[in-house]
C-alpha cells in the first residue's frame, strides 16, 4: 500500500477530519469563491470585455483610477505615520497618560464607517462648528483632504497594533549593543531600529493602502466630486443599474487590492526580522532628551485630542437637533433609533451579526487547525481562499453575491440552492447577509487561530491520540480549550466587523433586512445627522456590551496562559 493511499484512508476513516474539511470547503465555496467566479465570469463575458474597452477608454475612468491610487497612497502615508508615532511613544518615550493614549488610539476600531466622517463634516465642514462658527470659514471638507484625514484616523489603529507588537518584541540588547559600540541614540534609531522595523512599516503601509482603496462608506459620505473606484461601482449598480459596468470596474479594483494584499502578507510573514510573539528580553531604554520627549507628546496628544473631539461630537450630536443649524438638546434621535422606525434595523443587525459570529469563529478556527496541523491535498488552496474574505474589497464581493444568489442555483432542473439575495430570497435575504458577514470576518479567526496553534506543541494532541482519543475528541478537549483566547477574539472581531461593515452588504439589504450601517447612510444622506449619530452611539454601545458579554461567557484565561504568565 502506498503512503498516499494510506493518507486517504486515514482521512476517510476519521469523520471529524473529513467532515470538518468538507464543511470548510463548502462554506468558502459559497461565501467567497462562487460569488467571485460569477463576478469574473460576467466581466470576462463578451459583453463584459466590450465594456472593458469602453470603460478603460473613458477619461473619467482614468481620473477615477488616479483618484483611488492617490487617496490610497495618502491614507497609507498619513496612517502609517500616525501608527508609528503612537507606537513609538508607547514603547520608547515616557509621557503622561500613556495608557489613556493607547486606548484612544484603539477607539476608531469599533466605530461604524460614518461616525468619523459625519463628525468631521460637523466640525470642519461648510457649516462646521470649528471652521464656520469659530473661524467664520466656509471650508469645503469634501474631497481628497477630508477623505485622507477621516480614512487615516479610521484605519490607523490596525497598523498601530501591528507596529506596537513589533517594537515591543525588538530585543533591547540590539540597542544596547549599538550604544556600547559608541552610537548615539539618534544614530541607533536610524541605523538599527528603523531598518529592523522596515518590513513592519511597509506592511502597515500596504495594509492601509488596501483598506483605503476598498472603503466605500467614507467616499460616499465625504467624497463629494472626488469619485474613487469603490464609489463609482456603487453608482454603477445603484444609480445606473448596470451590473456589467459594475463587474468590470470591480475587476479593476480587485486586481490592485489583491496584489497589494498579497505583497503585504508576504512582507509581514516572510521578510520580518521580528517575531511578534517573542517575549521582550529586557526593558527598552527610554528617550531621555526633554525636547524630543515633549514634542512627541505634543504631537500624539493633539491627534488623541482630535479623536476624542470627533467621538465627543458623535455623542453630543446624538443629543442635538441638527448640528450646524440648530444646536438644541433633544432625545428624539434616540427615540427614533431605539423605539421608533429605526429600531427594526438595530434588532435585525444584532441578530444577523450574532448568528454570523459563531459561524465565522468556528469555521475560521477549524480552517486554522486543518491548515496548521494536518496534511492534505489542497491545503494551500484552502489557506488562500480563507484569506480572500479579508483581501477582496467588500464592494466587489457584494456584487459577486448579487450575481451569484439573485436566482436559484439549479443543476438539471434540481434546485441545489434557492434564491438567497433580495427581498424574495431565502428568509427575506437574511441568509445571504449572514453568509457575507461570516465570510468577511472569518479570516481574522483563521489568523488568530493559526498564530495561537503555532504556539501550542502538537505533541499535546499526539498525547491525546495516544491515550485513545480520536481527532474530534482531541480537538474538543485539548485543542479548543487551549486556543480559547483566539476563538474569543475571533468572535469579538466577527461581531464588531459585521456590525460595522457597509460595502459588502449595501447591495444585499432588503426591506425585510434593514442593516444599521445602511440606515446610518440613508439618514446621513437625507441630512438627518442627529439620527445618524444616535445610530452610531447605539452601535458602538452594542459592540462594547457584546465584547463584555463574550468575556464573561467564554473567559479569556486558560491553563496555558496561566502557565505562560508564571513561566515568564
Amino acid at each position: 500500500m502506498s503512503s498516499h493511499l494510506r493518507t486517504v484512508r486515514q482521512w476517510l476513516g476519521d469523520w471529524t477530519l473529513s467532515g470538518g474539511l468538507v464543511l470548510a470547503v463548502i462554506f468558502l465555496a459559497l461565501g467567497i469563491v462562487w460569488p467571485l467566479l460569477r463576478m469574473l465570469a460576467l466581466s470576462l463575458s463578451p459583453e463584459g470585455l466590450a465594456e472593458f474597452a469602453v470603460v478603460l477608454g473613458r477619461g473619467t475612468f482614468q481620473r477615477i483610477a488616479i483618484n483611488t491610487l492617490v487617496m490610497g497612497a495618502a491614507v497609507a502615508t498619513l496612517g502609517t505615520g500616525l501608527a508609528f508615532l503612537f507606537a513609538f511613544v508607547q514603547v520608547w518615550v515616557n509621557v503622561p497618560f500613556k495608557r489613556l493614549l493607547h486606548w484612544i488610539a484603539l477607539l476608531p476600531i469599533i466605530s461604524p464607517p460614518f461616525a468619523v466622517a459625519l463628525a468631521v463634516i460637523s466640525l470642519f465642514g461648510r457649516s462646521g462648528l470649528i471652521t464656520y462658527r469659530l473661524f467664520g470659514l466656509r471650508y469645503d471638507i469634501y474631497g481628497l483632504d477630508g477623505l485622507t484625514l477621516v480614512l487615516s484616523l479610521s484605519f490607523f489603529p490596525a497598523a498601530y497594533i501591528g507596529l506596537l507588537g513589533m517594537m515591543r518584541a525588538l530585543n533591547p540588547a540590539l540597542d544596547e549593543a549599538a550604544i556600547n559600540l559608541g552610537a548615539s541614540r539618534w544614530h541607533v534609531f536610524r541605523t538599527v531600529t528603523v531598518p529592523i522595523l522596515v518590513p513592519g512599516i511597509l506592511g502597515s503601509f500596504l495594509l492601509l493602502f488596501v483598506e483605503a482603496m476598498a472603503d466605500l462608506g467614507n467616499p460616499l459620505a465625504l467624497g463629494g466630486d472626488f469619485t474613487v473606484l469603490a464609489s463609482r461601482i456603487y453608482i454603477a449598480i445603484i444609480g445606473e443599474y448596470d451590473m456589467i459596468a459594475g463587474a468590470v470596474l470591480s475587476v479593476n479594483l480587485l486586481v490592485p487590492t489583491l496584489a497589494l494584499f498579497l505583497a503585504q502578507n508576504y512582507i509581514v510573514n516572510r521578510k520580518s526580522y521580528v517575531t511578534v510573539t517573542g517575549k521582550p528580553a529586557g526593558t527598552p531604554r527610554l528617550i531621555s532628551s526633554p525636547f524630543a520627549r515633549w514634542s512627541l507628546f505634543a504631537a500624539v496628544a493633539s491627534v488623541a485630542a482630535l479623536i476624542v473631539l470627533i467621538y465627543g461630537t458623535v455623542l453630543v450630536g446624538a443629543f442635538t437637533r441638527l448640528f450646524g443649524i440648530d444646536y438644541s438638546f433633544t432625545l428624539d434621535n434616540f427615540k427614533f433609533v431605539l423605539f421608533g422606525y429605526g429600531s427594526q434595523a438595530m434588532v435585525t443587525t444584532v441578530i444577523l451579526a450574532g448568528i454570523a459570529m459563531p459561524i465565522a469563529a468556528l469555521i475560521g478556527t477549524l480552517v486554522a487547525y486543518l491548515v496548521t496541523r494536518k496534511q492534505f491535498p489542497g491545503r494551500n488552496a484552502l489557506d488562500f481562499a480563507s484569506m480572500l474574505g479579508l483581501a477582496v474589497p467588500g464592494t466587489v464581493l457584494g456584487i459577486g453575491y448579487v450575481l451569484a444568489y439573485n436566482q436559484p442555483i439549479e443543476v438539471a432542473g434540481i434546485t441545489l440552492l434557492p434564491k438567497l439575495a433580495g427581498g424574495a430570497g431565502l428568509l427575506g435575504g437574511a441568509a445571504v447577509i449572514v453568509l457575507s458577514f461570516a465570510a468577511r470576518s472569518m479570516p481574522a479567526s483563521v489568523r488568530n487561530g493559526t498564530a495561537t496553534l503555532q504556539q501550542i506543541d502538537p505533541v499535546l494532541e499526539e498525547a491525546s491520540l495516544n491515550l485513545g482519543a480520536d481527532n474530534g475528541t482531541t480537538f474538543r478537549r485539548i485543542t479548543l480549550p487551549l486556543i480559547r483566547p483566539a476563538v474569543l477574539s475571533g468572535m469579538i472581531y466577527a461581531f464588531a466587523r459585521s456590525m460595522t461593515s457597509l460595502s459588502s452588504i449595501i447591495f444585499l439589504t432588503t426591506p425585510y433586512t434593514k442593516i444599521m450601517v445602511a440606515q446610518i447612510f440613508t439618514e446621513a444622506d437625507a441630512g438627518r445627522f442627529g439620527n445618524a449619530f444616535a445610530y452610531c452611539v447605539i452601535l458602538i454601545a452594542i459592540v462594547l456590551v457584546a465584547i463584555a458579554l463574550l468575556y464573561r461567557v467564554i473567559g479569556s484565561t486558560t491553563g496555558a496562559e496561566r502557565e505562560a504568565s508564571l513561566g515568564g
Binding site: M1, S2, S3, R6, T7, R9, Q10, G13, D14, D457, V459, L460, E462, A463, S464, L465, N466, L467, G468, A469, D470, T473, R477, I478, P481, L482, T558, G559, A560, R562, E563, L566, G567
Partner: protein, 367 residues
C-alpha cells in the same frame, strides 16, 4: 495494579519510512528497512545519534507516522495503519506533553474517561497509579505547579494507568538534571519489572540504554546496526560504529595476516596478536583492531612484552586518570583505573594488551 495487563509482543518487518524533503531531490529515508522482534515483557532500547531513525521508528509504533512500506505487528496482528488512538500502546513524551489546562488528576484520568468508566472506577485507578509513582495528594495541582521530576512522574502515570500492551518512551529523562535522571532511571526500571509491561525506549544516552535495557538496538542512518544484550554490545561490537558509539575505543588500522580457526592473526603496536576472527574479514582484509581503554594497562617500560609508548596528554580525574599515549605513530586513549601515581606528559611508559578483550572489525567510518 489490580489486574496486570498481558504484555504485548511487537514485530517490525522491513519497515521503511520516507519523508518528502524540500531541500533534497526525491524523498529522504528516515528509516531504512528495520526488522526487529520484541518479546512480551522485554525492555528494549533504540539507541543511536540524532537522525538515526530511532524516534521515527517509535512514532510509527505509536501510529503518529505510517510506514512507507513494511509491516508492524502487535501480538501477531497487523497494526501498520491502525490509527494511533486504537493501538493500546501508551507513550511517555520527551516534553511530557501534560495538558496544561487540566489538573494532575484529569491528566491521568484523560484516557480512562474515554473508556467511559464509572467515576468511582476512574478515581480508584488514578489513586493506584498516583500511589505507585509517589504523588499521592498532588492530584488537584496544575502541571505547571509541579517540578520537572514530578511532571515526569505524572506523564508516566498517565501512560501506565491505561494498562497498555506496550509502553513507549521518547527520551523521557532528557529534560531532567543529572541527579534526578539517575534516580528516575532506577525507578523506571523497577516499575517496568514490577508491572511486567513490554517497553520500547528511545534514547541517545548510552548509560541510560546500558542500565535500563534487556536488549539494545543500535541504529545508524535508518538501519539497525546491532541488536544484543548490553554486555554484548559493549564487549562484542559487530561494527566500528557500534564500538565507537558505545563506550570509548581505540581504532588501530591493521591487516588480517592469517586465519586460524575462529581466530585471526594481525600485527599492531609492534606485536603479533591473535584475536577473535570476524565473519566479514578474510585473509589480507584491511581491518580495525578495536582496543577498549580497559584492555590496556600502563606498566613500567622494563616489563617484557610491553609496547613502549610516550605520554602526550594526561588528565587526572580523581578516581581515574586518562592518558593519550603514542605507540609508534598510533595515539591511544588509555584509562588508569587505579592511579596511585600520575605520569607526566613526555614520560616513557610500557603498555600491556589484554588480548582476550581485543576485537577485529571491518574498516568503516566510525561515527
Amino acid at each position: 495494579m489490580s489486574t496486570a495487563p498481558r504484555p504485548g509482543s511487537l514485530e517490525l518487518r522491513n519497515v521503511i519510512k520516507e519523508f518528502a524533503s524540500p531541500g533534497h531531490q526525491g524523498p529522504v529515508r528516515a528509516v531504512d528497512g528495520v526488522t526487529l522482534t520484541i518479546e512480551p515483557g522485554e525492555f528494549i532500547t533504540l539507541l543511536g545519534p540524532s537522525g538515526c531513525g530511532k524516534t521515527t521508528t517509535l512514532r510509527m509504533l505509536a501510529g503518529f507516522e505510517f510506514p512507507t512500506s513494511g509491516q508492524i505487528l502487535l501480538d501477531g496482528q497487523d497494526i501498520t495503519v491502525v490509527p494511533p488512538n486504537q493501538r493500546q500502546m501508551t507513550m511517555v513524551f520527551q516534553s511530557y506533553a501534560l495538558f496544561p489546562h487540566l489538573s494532575v488528576f484529569e491528566n491521568i484520568a484523560y484516557g480512562l474517561r474515554l473508556k467511559h468508566l464509572r467515576e468511582s472506577e476512574v478515581r480508584e485507578q488514578v489513586d493506584i497509579v498516583l500511589h505507585l509513582i509517589n504523588l499521592t495528594g498532588m492530584d488537584a495541582r496544575s502541571p505547571h505547579q509541579l517540578s520537572g521530576g514530578q511532571q515526569q512522574r505524572v506523564a508516566l502515570a498517565r501512560a501506565l494507568v491505561m494498562k497498555p500492551k506496550v509502553l513507549l518512551f521518547d527520551e523521557p529523562l532528557s529534560n531532567l538534571d543529572a541527579k534526578l535522571r539517575l534516580q528516575m532511571r532506577m525507578e523506571l526500571r523497577r516499575l517496568q519489572r514490577r508491572l511486567g509491561v513490554t517497553a520500547v525506549y528511545v534514547t541517545h544516552d548510552q548509560a541510560e540504554a546500558m542500565s535500563l535495557s534487556d536488549r539494545i538496538v543500535v541504529m545508524r542512518a535508518g538501519r539497525v546496526e546491532q541488536v544484543g544484550l548490553p554486555r554484548e554490545i559493549y564487549a562484542e561490537p559487530q561494527t566500528a560504529f557500534v564500538a565507537d558509539f558505545i563506550g570509548r575505543a581505540n581504532f588501530v588500522p591493521t591487516t588480517v595476516e592469517a586465519l586460524e580457526g575462529d581466530h585471526a592473526r594481525v600485527s599492531a603496536l609492534g606485536q603479533t596478536l591473535t584475536v577473535p576472527a570476524h565473519a566479514g574479514l578474510g585473509q589480507g582484509s584491511e581491518a580495525y583492531l578495536v582496543i577498549r581503554p580497559d584492555a590496556l594497562q600502563i606498566v613500567p617500560t622494563t616489563e617484557s612484552g610491553a609496547a613502549p609508548g610516550e605520554i602526550v596528554g594526561a588528565a587526572y580525574l580523581g578516581q581515574t586518570a586518562e592518558y593519550d599515549i603514542e605507540v609508534g605513530n598510533q595515539a591511544l586513549f588509555v584509562v588508569d583505573y587505579t592511579p596511585s601515581q600520575v605520569h607526566a606528559e613526555g614520560a616513557a611508559v610500557g603498555l600491556r594488551l589484554n588480548q582476550t578483550q581485543l576485537r577485529l572489525l571491518p574498516r568503516q567510518d566510525p561515527a
